[in-house]
Symmetry: C2
Subunit: 300 residues, 2 copies
Amino acid sequence: MKDKFFKYLHELQDTITSKLEMIDGSSVFKEDIWKRNEGGGGRTRIIENGAIFEKGGVNISGVHGKLPTSMESYFNVKNVDFFACGLSLVLHPKNPMAPTVHANWRYFEMYNKKGDVIDQWFGGGQDLTPYYLFEEDAVHFHQVCKAACDKHNPDFYLTYKNRCDTYFYNSHRKEARGIGGLFFDYCKSSQEISMSQWYDFVKEVGDSFLEAYVPILEKRVQLPFTKEQQNWQEIRRGRYVEFNLVHDKGTLFGLKTNGRIESILMSLPPKVQWVYDHQPGPKSEEEKLIRVLKTPKKWV
Amino acid sequence: MKDKFFKYLHELQDTITSKLEMIDGSSVFKEDIWKRNEGGGGRTRIIENGAIFEKGGVNISGVHGKLPTSMESYFNVKNVDFFACGLSLVLHPKNPMAPTVHANWRYFEMYNKKGDVIDQWFGGGQDLTPYYLFEEDAVHFHQVCKAACDKHNPDFYLTYKNRCDTYFYNSHRKEARGIGGLFFDYCKSSQEISMSQWYDFVKEVGDSFLEAYVPILEKRVQLPFTKEQQNWQEIRRGRYVEFNLVHDKGTLFGLKTNGRIESILMSLPPKVQWVYDHQPGPKSEEEKLIRVLKTPKKWV
């Protein structure tokens, strides 16, 4: 399973980065191959200062070895080996009318000292963070998410949509990071569903990413924008930073376990502002966004 | 003690904000008085878009009531009341030649149900975060810190200088946040030193703040700077954000216990950049700073 899925992630990274380079037309991804001392490594691909993308990363990694001590207590195990691979992407378009997008698909295995697999699961998801709310974009993104889920289980979409709303939540601001999407974790084999069926589901979501995001991006980057709208984008990007550094388990885990810092923090936006007690004007487009982030909506 | 110290903090806030307004000459502090539902409140003073200060806050607060559950396990107590007051300041000058400064002085008391004080302590410190290293500035700042300490105990300076280097450390970057200063906590009465003597010491440090920082600021804001140097400042400010959101106990505690978010996050810089894998040129002024942050120096 791990070889099959990691191979899929390599192909998916290629598919996504070539499509995004075509869309950008000006900048290309810079590739960094890195190795992890304790086992494994990754292929980081970063785009910066493009015509469309101000900053973005589409990274894969596959790491293995002895499970770090800090993770032992988290998973409540002792002296086990592990393998983990994943693709993580974050795209920050320059145009504030175009949303930031995040996606991640990952697979985890643990082994006893004999090398038997003692646990294995998939996780992942994709979610959208607009700076200006176009309801039809939110509906499109969620429709693609739902279509991918519905092919596998009629309950998946609602379950994972709700988990996404719960997870990507800036509790200290009492608002969601964005308008959500899907978030799933610990997808393990059971009487109802085998690992191979989970693989098919995660691949379905991975394959749906470009269809979910690209039409929105291509439409919104056509729109003109003002310096004030760009300021608003940079202020909202501050909330993105707050979520990633204060609440996101993946980021914190990476930072505290000696992960490759630059690959982890590629998610942080290129230009960010913090303005004291910034409040959007009443009935403004900016306030409309905040209202939706305060109370996550059903989009489909 | 609590009334005496809180009164001192009010006066110190006035002294500091009037001096800083005089220096800025263009912008003034905006004051927000806020109340905490569970007891107490604060007086937040923020300056933005000044001639000298791009952003800064000099805040006091005094809060009391039942100790929040999240703090009970931290202090290993149950069902106690508390009082806490403090002054926190962070100043982000516009000119990248001038350093950011942070200071905090605080006092904490806990009571049993009869209202007896069962524990009490002071904490605080002040530290400097330059974007370009002027060794004479670091020496001046530490000299003032040392002089304040030496009036009270010959060991204080070295002890609290080292704690500052240890505390304000971005472990995920393996570098200090800045060039340090003082950091002390849990300053409790003992056979050697009474609470009243701790008060005198903390007041000495508080009173030394303007002398430690203002001469540096006034000298450096005279210097010209380029767009590239400003970019470097904004990239380094990203490390400041990383420390405050990932490692700073005070910030995280505030965010997770329903503190006044805007007063807590006033510490975040106004404009920030994250550039993938940014490396200063060899033997550049930027690299010189990094070298010192990797290995904290003895300045006096």
